[in-house]
């Protein structure tokens, strides 16, 4: 019996012949990412020995630029740490600033067939590059920085075969909402994507899905390697790597085919995305105070293009505020060059610097009591984006942009006729 892609990656990096669900494996970590939350007073433990500084990346993203004295202290600590151990892959406030998971994509930090960890739950994002990428805890990241390894409990894998083409106005965020709505949580399991639809899906579109794997509570979300992905990574790094394809006789807990042509714009109702998706028509007309496009899932250049296309020549409703946050400053610069920032700002949207911002409820768009938000970010838990009484609907950037114009939840379909 063969192995799934994730089982093969873990086997390779743990020097094991076979990896099976139920195993606890110790594996080499190729990339350990430290970010600003790790550096806060209540979390940081002073590291005395770094296993290999070339395998560490340091990023300030959750509160960047510093939102308060505590985060400023954390950033200061991070700069000292980087200097002390000679860490070169450092993303301070400035030109190379961004959200860790998006920087991994921009700079080719996720090497196919390797293990990457970060103590942020959306680290599964890098699974799009055929990486065993997982959000871990702060103690785990400290451990891997000191010792170069970590442990994983191996779960069963569910294979998703994507077929067909997404209709105009429908995006991979809608595909995710379909999966969350129909199949609910995938706790303790891995998901693996493949299928004939892959050539039609950009790396950004694919990465939205692996990033959102965290909301399905997956252990790992991986894509089968293909030419588009391998070219993308090779264009960004000279490091060698060995991608891992699933065996033909891999053992999956279930195999599910999704026909992209059948999908429509969806909205998740507040508090959870699990079994909570509705067609946009069912909630259309709900008044919104804030619309947000951003985060590690949807702050990509593709998302800026979609927002600019919908907002171009239009105005954001006077009853709504629209906040748009790029995943990295690289995306910001490119979106400026292409006129996307101009279109969004002319329409009345506010484009912020690259950071987590409103997604984490810490700065740049915190929700007040009783407010309603529609967001294209990652998470709609109660209290996630501010006051616990605020309601958070989740949708694609297109649906969010269309809603910002009407001031009410609205379908994006009229912009894609």
């Amino acid at each position: 019996m063969g192995m799934t892609a994730i089982e093969k990656i873990l086997a390779r990096n743990g020097d094991l012949k076979l990896v099976r669900p139920g195993d606890v494996v110790t594996v080499r970590v190729e990339t350990s990412i430290l970010f600003d939350n790790n550096l806060m007073d209540s979390v940081w433990r002073d590291i005395l020995e770094v296993h290999d500084p070339s395998k560490v990346v340091v990023v300030f993203d959750h509160r960047a630029p510093a939102a308060h004295v505590l985060s400023a202290k954390g950033h200061k600590r991070g700069r000292e740490f980087v200097k002390k151990f000679g860490i070169t892959r450092f993303h301070d406030i400035g030109r190379e600033q961004g959200i860790s998971h998006v920087l991994v994509a921009d700079y080719g930090y996720g090497l196919p067939g390797t293990v990457l960890i970060c103590s942020d739950s959306h680290t599964c994002s890098a699974g799009v590059f055929n990486v065993a990428a997982r959000g871990v805890g702060s103690p785990d990241i400290t451990y891997s920085i000191c010792k170069g390894e970590t442990w994983f409990r191996v779960g069963e894998t569910i294979r998703y075969d994507l077929e067909g083409t997404l209709p105009p106005g429908v995006f991979t965020k809608d595909l995710f909402l379909h999966m969350a709505g129909r199949y609910g949580n995938h706790a303790t399991m891995n998901i693996e994507f493949g299928g004939s639809a892959l050539p039609g899906l950009s790396m950004n579109a694919r990465r939205t899905i692996t990033t959102m794997g965290a909301e399905l509570s997956v252990e790992f979300a991986t894509f089968e390697p293909d030419g588009i992905m391998l070219d993308y990574v090779r264009a960004r790094t000279g490091q060698p790597f060995e991608p891992q394809w699933p065996d033909a006789d891999a053992n999956y807990l279930d195999r599910r085919t999704i026909k992209l042509d059948d999908l429509e714009p969806l909205v998740a109702l507040p508090d959870t995305v699990l079994n909570n998706s509705r067609s946009v028509g069912e909630v259309a007309g709900t008044a919104i105070d804030q619309a947000f496009i951003g985060s590690c899932a949807n702050g990509t250049l593709d998302d800026f293009a979609i927002a600019a296309r919908i907002l171009g020549g239009k105005r954001v409703s006077p009853n709504t505020r629209l906040i748009v946050t790029p995943g990295t400053q690289n995306i910001y610069r490119e979106a400026m060059r292409l006129g996307y920032v101009q279109a969004i700002v002319d329409a009345g949207g506010v484009v912020t610097n690259a950071t987590c911002g409103a997604c984490g409820g810490g700065s740049l768009g915190v929700l007040g009591p009783g407010e309603t938000c529609i967001t294209a970010s990652t998470r709609n838990f109660k209290g996630r984006m501010g006051d616990p009484s605020a309601r958070i609907f989740m949708a694609s950037p297109a649906t969010v942009a269309a809603s910002a114009i009407s001031g009410k939840i609205a379908s994006p379909m009229e912009y894609f006729q």
Binding site: R45, P139, T142
Partner: protein, 173 residues
């Protein structure tokens, strides 16, 4: 670790539902407070005032996918609140890691929410992977915690291990 050698916990039961997430356990407002201040914020959004009622040694019975969400040190807050352990129908993978690494005993026992109501007593035989309601006599078995992880838990978590090896500095206090 407050448990004896064989880790048996006896305590009063609190019941949490399915899909309890880390934003409920450690809300963002609490994230930047000190470690000592964080526990009183547990469940402040869904169960205000609860953290004041918890007594040392109480046991939390969770539903499905307990601790879903982010990597924030939510398990540490439950431990510091005084809870002896959590036994849930199933536990989110990331929360489980943090539970092991912060030495907060956590077991997955399918069916456990059916044998307890809030206010009951519970007996948790942690290393036998078994939980019992002494009033009704009903029992439920839990999935085993793999030995390497049990060893981390019993050592008091990851940090004491790294301290011992001189990889990290002891906490200044």
């Amino acid at each position: 670790m407050t448990a004896d050698e064989t880790m048996v916990f006896r305590g009063r039961v609190w019941v949490a539902g399915d899909n309890i997430n880390t934003d409920l356990i450690l809300p963002i407002q609490a994230y930047y407070l000190t470690i000592a201040e964080q526990p009183k914020w547990v469940f402040s959004a869904n169960r205000p005032g609860w953290s004041d009622e918890v007594r040392k040694g109480d046991i939390l019975i969770g539903g499905k996918n307990f601790g879903m969400g982010s990597s924030r040190p939510a398990a540490r807050s439950l431990k510091n609140l005084g809870l002896a352990c959590v036994v849930a129908e199933s536990i989110n993978g990331l929360f489980y890691r943090n539970a092991v690494n912060f030495a907060f005993p956590a077991l997955e026992a399918p069916g456990v929410s059916e044998i307890f109501e809030e206010g009951d007593s519970a007996e948790v035989f942690f290393e036998a992977f078994r939980v019992r309601n002494p009033t009704s006599g009903k029992e439920c078995s839990a999935g085993a915690m793999p030995v390497p992880l049990l060893n981390i838990l019993k050592a008091g978590g990851i940090y004491p291990l790294l301290e011992k090896e001189g990889k990290i500095a002891p906490l200044a206090s």
